[in-house]
Amino acid sequence: MAEEENRVFGASEASLLIRELRDSFKSGRTKSYDWRVSQLRGIEKMIEEREKDIIQALYMDLSKPELESFFSEISTSKSSCKKALKELKKWMMPEKVKTSMTTYPSSAEIVSEPLGVVLVISAWNYPFLLSLDPVIGAIAAGNAVVLKPSEIAPATSSLLARLLEEYLDKSAIRVVEGAVPETTALLDQKWDKIMYTGSGRVGRIVMAAAARHLTPVILELGGKCPAIVDSNVKLEVCVRRIIAGKWAANSGQACISIDYIITTKQFAPKLIDALKKGIEESFGEKPIESPDMSRIVNAFHFKRLVNLLDEERVYHKIVLGGQREEKLLKIAPTVLLDVPEDSQIMQEEIFGPMLPILTVENLEEGFEVVNSKPKPLAAYLFTNNEQLKKEFVQNVSAGGMLVNDAILHVTVPGLPFGGIGESGIGAYHGKFSFDAFSHKKGVMYRSFEGDSSVRYPPYTPKKQRLLKALINGNIIGIILALISWYRK
C-alpha cells in the first residue's frame, strides 16, 4: 500500500524492531548450534545461488568488474561463511583454564555467550562483503542482528534487504535500509554491540551514541595507507602488486588500498617508468576506458577527488594520468610526484585512483613520515633488505602490515583485521569475528571444603599468616602456617 511504502523508519519503528529482536533472542533460539548452522548454510546457499545478482548489483553501484567482485567480495564472503561452519563447534566450546594455589580447590572455565542484539552498519565500497562478513560473525556467535547497508550503494543495499529476508530467519536477522535519519534512529536505541565500517568522522558519532548506553563498539575506519618502496626489489613484480593494491582494488576506494608511496629520490624515476608500463599492461593504452577498473561511486566523491587533483600546487605534479570523465564518473590511474605535504591530497585519505609519490633521502626517513601521521589501517613495505623489514615491523604502527605485497594480509584467516588510533577500534575475521560478537564469561567452581574461615573475620594473627601464604601461592609458607594453625 502507498501508505506503508511512505512510512519513514523513525524512533518508534526502531524501538519496535529492537524489541522484536530482543524477544527473539530471549526465546533462546539464536543460541542453539543448529540455528547458527542453519543460518550460515542459508548464507552459503544465498551466495552460491545468487552470484549473478550480486555481481550485477556491484556493477550497478560501482561498475565493479566481474572478476574483482568475485575475488574481493563473493569468494571472501563464502570463505568466511565456510570457515565459520567448519570451526563453529570448536569456537562454541567452553575453554577450561588452570587455577592456581590461590583459589585452591577450584576449577574454572571461560564460556562464550552471545551478546544479544547487535547492529552492523556497513560501507559502500565493498558493500556486499562488508555487510555479510560481520553478519556472519554475529550469527556464528549466536546473536540477533540488524544490518544497515550503505545507501551510497543502493543496488546492493536493496539486494541485501531482499536476499536476507528470503534466505534467513527474519525473526532474528533484519535489514534496515536508509540514510542519516534511519541510522540516527537506530543509533538512539540500546544495542549490545555496534559494528561500524566507514569514516573516522562518522565513527566518532557512532561511538558517542554508543556511549550513552555503554554499548561496546568495533570501528573499522581508514587512514592513509602508505607503501614504502626500496630500490632493491624485483621492480616488475612490485609494480604489479602495487597496481593490484591500488587500481584493481575498487579504483583505490578501499580502506586498505595503497594511499601514497614513499621512495628514495634516486629510485623514483625508475619506479614511475615501471608504473607507466604496468598500468598500460593492465588497463591498456587508455586506462580511463578500461572496463577492468571500478568507477568512482558517485558525483559527490568524483567532485571531491577532482578537487584534490586540481589544487594548484598539486595539479602540475602529475606525472601520469590525470584524465577524468565526469559522465562516466571515471578518473584515470594518476601518479603524482612530491606534492606538498600540506596539500589536501596529503592530508586526507584519498580513497580514489590518485597515487602521490613522496621522495626521501633514505627509507628510515620514510618511516618517520609515516609515524608523523595518524596510524593507518595498513602499511606496506617493498624491499629485500631483512634489516629494513625488521625495523619496519618494530617501529611503524598500523592496524596491519604486509611486506612485499598489498591487501592480501586481510585474507589470512588466522590474522585479526582491525585498526589502531584513528584507523579504528577492535578487530574481526575468522575466530576474531566470533570473539568480537561474544561475551567471554568467566565461570569458577568452588567446593565447600577448603579455606573458608581463613579469609574472613574474626582476623587472628594465625589466620593472617596463612592468608598471606595462600594468596602468594607460597607452598612453604602455607605448610608452615598450617602447622602452626593446627598446633594447639
Binding site: P216, D292, M401, L415
Partner: protein
C-alpha cells in the same frame, strides 16, 4: 591546562624514544611496584584505615596480597606475552609467513576508584606496564590519604618519565578526559563511565570500563549442614568484610526459597555474631562508609517505611563518625527480608552493608528474576544442583559466575575480569591485562619469487576460473587450469 598538555607531550616523546618498550624497563617497573608494596605495608595499612577504616587483614587480602600476586604472575609470564604468535596459513598462500605482533598502545590513562584505592590503581598499571606503555594514573580524590600515598611513592619507585600520578577531583578528571589518549581504563560508576566513553569518542580512544551492578547471590537448599555453614560464612564475608559492601563484585542481595529462608536467616544471625562479635563496630572488621554523601545515601535507603519494616537485623541506630578516622560513618551490618521490589534499595546498586534477602517460591525463579534486571558484574550461586548450575550459566548473563563462593574470582589470573552491558566494557587480570593495553598487529611477509599472475588485470575467463579453484583450495583444479587442461566456464555477462 597548558602545563598538563606540556607534561603529556613530554610523556609522548619519552614513549616514542622506545624506553618503555624494552623488556628490561617493564621488568624494572614491575619489580619497583613489588618493592613499593613490600616496603610500605605499614603505611598502606594506615592510609586504608584512614580513608576507609579497613582492618589490615582485609587490606592485605583485598589490595596488597592480590596485587603482589598479580605482579609476580606478570613477571613470570612477560616473555611469553611479549613474543609474536605465528599465524597458520592455507597452502595456497605459498612462501608467505604471518604473525601477530603485540605492540603497546602508547600513552594511556588509568582512573581508579575509591573503594579499593590501592589495589584498583595498581592492578591496571600492571597491565599497562607489562604491555610497554607510558601512563598517567588518576587516583580517586574520595580516598585522599591513599591518593597522596600513591602520588608520593610511585615516583619514588618507578620511572617518572613514563609513569605519572596526577591527583585531583572532577575538574582535573575533566581536563584529563579532554586530552587525546591511546587508551582510557576507568573503574567506577556507570554514570561516570558514560561520561568517560563520550569523551573518548571524540578522539576514537578505546576504553575499558569496570563498572558495577547489583550482584545477586542465589542460595539454594543445601543438605549438608557443613555446606550451609560455609556458604553463609562466604556470603557474609563477601558482603560485610570487603569494604563493608562497597565493592563492585560484592554480594548486593540474596535470593532464597521461602522454605529454606528460616534456616538461612537463623544461621546468618549466628554467623554474624561469630564473625563480627556482639558489637561489630568494635571488631574493626567492618570498614567505614567513605563519605557523608554515601553515608546519607545509605541511610536514606532505609528511610522508606516499608523498607524499614523489612529489617530483621539489626535495629540498632546508625552511628556518627569516630573523630580519629577521617572516613565518614559506620553503618551496622543490616539484614532485610523482602523489601518492596520497587524501593530504591532494590533498584540501585546498594554499595553498603545492607543485605536484602528476597524469598521465592522455587529457587528456579531466581533465573527469571535476575534476567529481568540489568546484567551484573558477577553472579553467585551456592548450589550443588548440576542442572540448576547449567541453567544459570546458559540462561543468565553476567560478567562472571562463581559457584559456592564469592569475590574469589578476583584472584584468578586465568579468568577474564570484566562486565557486560551496564556492568562494563572490556576485561583484565592476568594475560587479559596485557591484552587490554596491547595492539595486536597483523603482519604478513611475501616473497617476490612466486606470484599468482592471474591476480592482475586485464581480466578474462581463464583468470576467473583460476580464482574459483584457488578460493576453494582446489589445487588440482588450479594445476589443470594453469596447464590449460581444463576449459574455463564462461563468465556471466554484465
Amino acid at each position: 591546562m597548558v602545563d598538563l598538555e606540556k607534561e603529556l607531550a613530554a610523556m609522548r616523546e619519552y614513549y616514542s624514544s622506545g624506553n618503555t618498550r624494552d623488556a628490561s624497563w617493564r621488568r624494572a617497573q614491575l619489580r619497583g611496584l613489588l618493592l613499593l608494596l613490600h616496603e610500605n605495608q605499614t603505611e598502606i595499612f594506615n592510609v586504608l584505615k584512614q580513608d576507609l577504616g579497613k582492618h589490615p587483614a582485609e587490606a592485605y587480602r583485598d589490595e596488597i596480597g592480590s596485587t603482589i600476586k598479580s605482579i609476580n604472575y606478570a613477571l613470570d609470564n612477560l616473555k611469553g606475552w611479549m613474543s609474536s604468535e605465528k599465524a597458520k596459513l592455507p597452502k595456497v598462500a605459498l612462501l608467505t609467513t604471518a604473525a601477530i605482533v603485540p605492540e603497546p598502545l602508547g600513552l594511556v590513562l588509568v582512573i581508579s576508584s575509591w573503594n579499593f584505592p590501592i589495589g584498583l590503581s595498581i592492578e591496571p598499571l600492571i597491565g599497562a606496564i607489562a604491555a610497554g606503555n607510558s601512563m598517567v594514573l588518576k587516583p580517586s580524590e574520595l580516598a585522599p590519604s591513599c591518593s597522596s600515598f600513591l602520588a608520593q611513592k610511585i615516583p619514588a619507585y618507578l620511572d617518572s618519565n613514563g609513569i605519572k600520578v596526577i591527583e585531583g577531583g572532577p575538574t582535573v578528571g575533566e581536563q584529563l578526559l579532554q586530552q587525546k589518549w591511546d587508551k582510557i581504563f576507568f573503574t567506577g560508576s556507570a554514570g561516570v563511565g558514560r561520561i568517560v566513553m563520550a569523551a573518548a569518542a571524540k578522539h576514537l580512544t578505546p576504553v575499558t570500563l569496570e563498572l558495577g551492578g547489583k550482584c545477586p547471590a542465589i542460595v539454594d537448599f543445601l543438605s549438608s549442614s557443613w555446606d550451609i555453614e560455609v556458604a553463609v560464612e562466604r556470603v557474609l564475608g563477601a558482603k560485610f568484610s570487603a569494604c563493608a559492601g562497597q565493592a563492585c563484585i560484592g554480594i548486593d542481595y540474596i535470593l532464597v526459597e521461602k522454605k529454606f529462608y528460616p534456616t538461612l536467616v537463623e544461621l546468618i544471625k549466628i554467623k554474624l555474631k561469630t564473625m563480627f562479635g556482639e558489637n561489630p563496630r568494635d571488631s574493626h572488621s567492618v570498614a567505614r562508609i567513605i563519605n557523608r554523601h554515601h553515608f546519607l545515601r545509605l541511610k536514606c535507603l532505609l528511610d522508606d517505611p516499608n523498607v524499614r519494616a523489612s529489617i530483621v537485623h539489626t535495629k540498632k541506630s546508625q552511628e556518627v563518625p569516630h573523630s580519629r578516622i577521617s572516613c565518614y560513618g559506620y553503618i551496622e551490618p543490616t539484614i532485610l527480608v523482602d523489601p518492596p521490589l520497587e524501593s530504591m534499595i532494590m533498584e540501585d546498586e546498594i554499595f553498603g552493608p545492607l543485605l536484602p534477602i528476597i524469598t521465592l517460591q522455587k529457587i528456579e525463579d531466581s533465573i527469571e528474576f535476575i534476567r529481568s534486571r540489568p546484567k551484573p558484574l558477577s553472579l553467585y550461586a551456592f548450589t550443588n544442583d548440576r542442572s540448576l548450575r547449567k541453567r544459570i550459566i546458559s540462561e543468565t548473563s553476567s560478567g562472571s559466575v562463581v559457584f559456592n563462593d564469592a569475590l574469589i574470582q578476583y584472584l584468578a589470573d586465568t579468568l577474564p575480569f570484566g562486565g557486560i552491558g551496564d556492568s562494563g566494557i572490556g576485561r583484565y587480570h592476568g594475560k587479559f591485562s596485557f591484552d587490554e593495553f596491547t595492539h595486536y598487529k597483523a603482519v604478513a611477509w611475501r616473497s617476490f619469487l612466486v606470484d599468482f599472475w592471474f591476480r592482475f588485470p586485464p581480466w578474462n575467463d581463464h583468470k576467473l576460473q583460476l580464482f574459483r579453484h584457488c578460493y576453494e583450495y582446489d589445487y588440482l583444479g588450479v594445476i589443470l587450469t594453469v596447464l590449460r587442461l581444463k576449459k574455463p566456464k564462461p563468465s556471466s555477462a554484465s
